[in-house]
């Protein structure tokens, strides 16, 4: 299996860098890659260098006016930029923003090409998954929506039915909107409820419009949901949705910001969910898609303790059909501990003692079950 998997990486993907105090930090990519290499899980021949995306490819989703605004951002007055969501607290300007952002889009398209043109079964691009990018507007740390562009690219050039699965703690609003009226792209986002958390959308009642009605799925779960409830409803929902939709290929957005260490969210999960998420994705890709699976990154703001382990497990599960366990390689810990502001974890799993106990657990679980039932109302009606 392993020769059929590709890992998209290049140092240039780290150029997507807002500033040093910004929560979105692509050092995560190096940490993940080196963790896999130190674990003897990633071979040089599996790594592929990304191409850049052309303007035409970016325009599969984005308005040419917006692309122009990104290109000329550094010469533009701030009032003009904020109309496009640029130059804000969340998406401030940085040098060569267009180039860095198209590089990420190109990396995701490289992953698609690896699978659909060059014979790989699965490919990952952890630099991608920027799901808050909109047609005309940047938001939530995202400039170009590589995931949406890649899905549109798959539709235009390969005509496959795409199942997009978004497990970021934030709602995958940009991707949902791009395919809201499209019955050939099914989007499923599980996320912390938007009542408190950005962006605020992703209600279970958002189901798509026109031809696409019934092909957008949202599972907003309560703050402090934790592992058990998360895993059980995620697995049930994804299996039901995949059976209903019968996808040809699966694209996953593997945001790693649902962990109790994550500073931006309140789901309070542990590493256990980052094993079950890819395990279920693998199962679906094998059952419906001949194994075809493209995995992307996304959010993840504890870049030292959470993201490298979570993303490495996606690759481990693709490769071995099971996660790694036990201790992390010393080589990796020794190299990075001096740069990390916190103590790096020593094992792939979190020990029980550090998982926080949360009040209202029973109520939260009951609420999530209720949301799951409403989500699946449509899949269970057999369509004629």
């Amino acid at each position: 299996m392993s020769q059929h998997m590709k890992f998209v990486f290049d140092q240039s993907l780290l150029n997507y860098h807002f500033h040093d105090n910004h929560p979105f930090n692509q050092i995560r990519l190096i940490l993940t890659k080196e963790l896999l290499e130190a674990s003897n899980q990633l071979l040089p021949e599996q790594i592929i260098t990304p191409r850049s995306a052309t303007d035409e490819e970016i325009a599969l989703i984005h308005d040419p006016m917006y692309i122009h605004a990104v290109k000329s951002a550094e010469q533009s007055p701030i009032e003009r930029l904020t109309r496009f969501g640029l130059g804000t607290e969340d998406t401030p300007l940085f040098p060569n923003m267009h180039e860095a952002s198209s590089q990420i889009v190109g990396a995701t398209l490289t992953a698609v090409d690896a699978v659909l043109k060059n014979g790989a079964t699965q490919a990952v691009n952890f630099a991608g998954g920027l799901h808050h990018g909109f047609k005309n507007r940047a938001s939530g740390f995202c400039i170009y929506n590589d995931a949406a562009i890649a899905i549109k690219y798959i539709r235009e050039f390969f005509g496959l039915k795409v199942l997009y699965v978004d497990t970021d703690a934030h709602h995958g609003d940009g991707v949902q909107e791009a395919f809201y009226d499209d019955p050939n792209v099914c989007t499923f986002s599980i996320h912390e409820t938007g009542r408190y958390l950005f962006p605020g959308t992703g209600n279970v009642n958002e189901r798509g419009i026109k031809e696409g009605h019934g092909y957008s799925f949202n599972l907003p779960i309560d703050a402090f949901t934790q592992d058990e409830s998360f895993i059980s409803i995620y697995e049930t929902a994804l299996r039901e949705i995949a059976e209903f939709f019968q996808p040809d290929i699966i694209v996953t957005q593997n945001g790693a910001d649902s962990h109790f260490f994550d500073p931006l969210t309140h789901l309070c999960g542990s590493m256990a969910i980052y094993e079950k998420i890819p395990e279920t994705a693998l199962e679906i890709s094998k059952r419906y898609c001949h194994g075809r699976w493209i995995a992307l990154g996304g959010g993840g703001y504890d870049i030292w303790r959470v993201v490298p382990r979570a993303w490495a497990q996606v690759w481990n599960i693709m490769k071995d059909e099971k996660p790694q366990n036990g201790v992390l390689p010393n080589e990796w810990i020794n190299k990075w501990q001096k740069d990390a502001p916190t103590t790096l974890p020593l094992t792939w799993h979190d020990s029980e003692e550090i998982i926080p106990a949360i009040p209202r657990k029973i109520e939260i679980e009951e609420k999530n079950q209720y949301t799951l039932k409403s989500l699946l109302k449509y899949t269970q009606v057999k369509r004629s």
């Binding site: 408190y196 950005f198 605020g200 959308t201 260490f261 309140h266």
Partner: protein, 216 residues
């Protein structure tokens, strides 16, 4: 906010001699629930709702129905006189009328002519705008003592971070008149620095920020 800011100016109307059948067709075609009835000068003489028309229609359960009742004139079932609003009335006054009179539509009249309609749905849409939930944002609730000066004090914490506030609401705290809940919707994905500052300034945060973070 004035009625003219949210009212619908493209009003579907009928004359009092039009048939009930015609009114029914308009309700279906335009997905509306109320039709103002006007004379040739656009002066309002009545209003019909979907309920008036249903009351006048034969039941779907009766067979061999005589549909000729639907050929009667609309004047036979319309309500009059009609409660109306003025374009410069406040939206909250309209809400009060809807609530008190248990109705869901007011024709808007200026210089004795019909100029628009305002419905329950327009009010709900406005409410969504007021909560700020129509734009991307994060939601933070702070419990504060109900005393002068507290709002600017708390708001200044947001101001210090240069983050746009898309809405502020002040709720009562349960039935306790001593406290209020301030609800801020802010246009950022990273409210953490604000939350940290609010906490360190001693403000009490509500769910889900009331649980001390294990990570800090």
């Amino acid at each position: 906010m004035h009625v003219e800011d949210i009212m619908n100016r493209n009003v579907i109307t009928l004359g009092s001699t039009d048939t009930i059948a015609k009114a029914h067709q308009l309700l279906v075609d335009h997905k509306i629930r109320h039709i103002p009835i006007v004379d040739e000068d656009y002066y309002i003489v009545g209003i019909v709702s979907d309920r008036d028309i249903r009351d006048a229609s034969p039941s779907i359960f009766t067979t061999d129905t005589d549909k000729s009742v639907l050929d009667k004139q609309i004047s036979t079932i319309m309500s009059s006189p009609v409660l109306t609003a003025h374009p410069l009335d406040f939206v909250e006054e309209v809400a009060r009328i809807f609530y008190d009179r248990e109705i869901a539509c007011l024709p808007v009249v200026s210089n004795e002519k019909l100029v628009g309609v305002i419905t329950e749905k327009d009010l709900l849409y406005t409410l969504i705008q007021l909560t700020g939930t129509h734009v991307q944002g994060s939601h933070i609730e702070v419990k504060v003592p109900h005393k002068p000066g507290i709002l600017p004090e708390v708001a200044s914490v947001f101001g210090n971070h240069g983050v746009n506030i898309s809405s502020v609401l002040i709720y009562p705290y349960k039935n306790n008149p001593e406290y209020k809940i301030l609800v801020f919707r802010v246009q950022t994905m990273n409210p953490q620095p604000i939350i940290r500052d609010l906490r360190s300034s001693g403000y009490e945060l509500m769910w889900p920020n009331n649980i001390p973070e294990p990570r800090l």
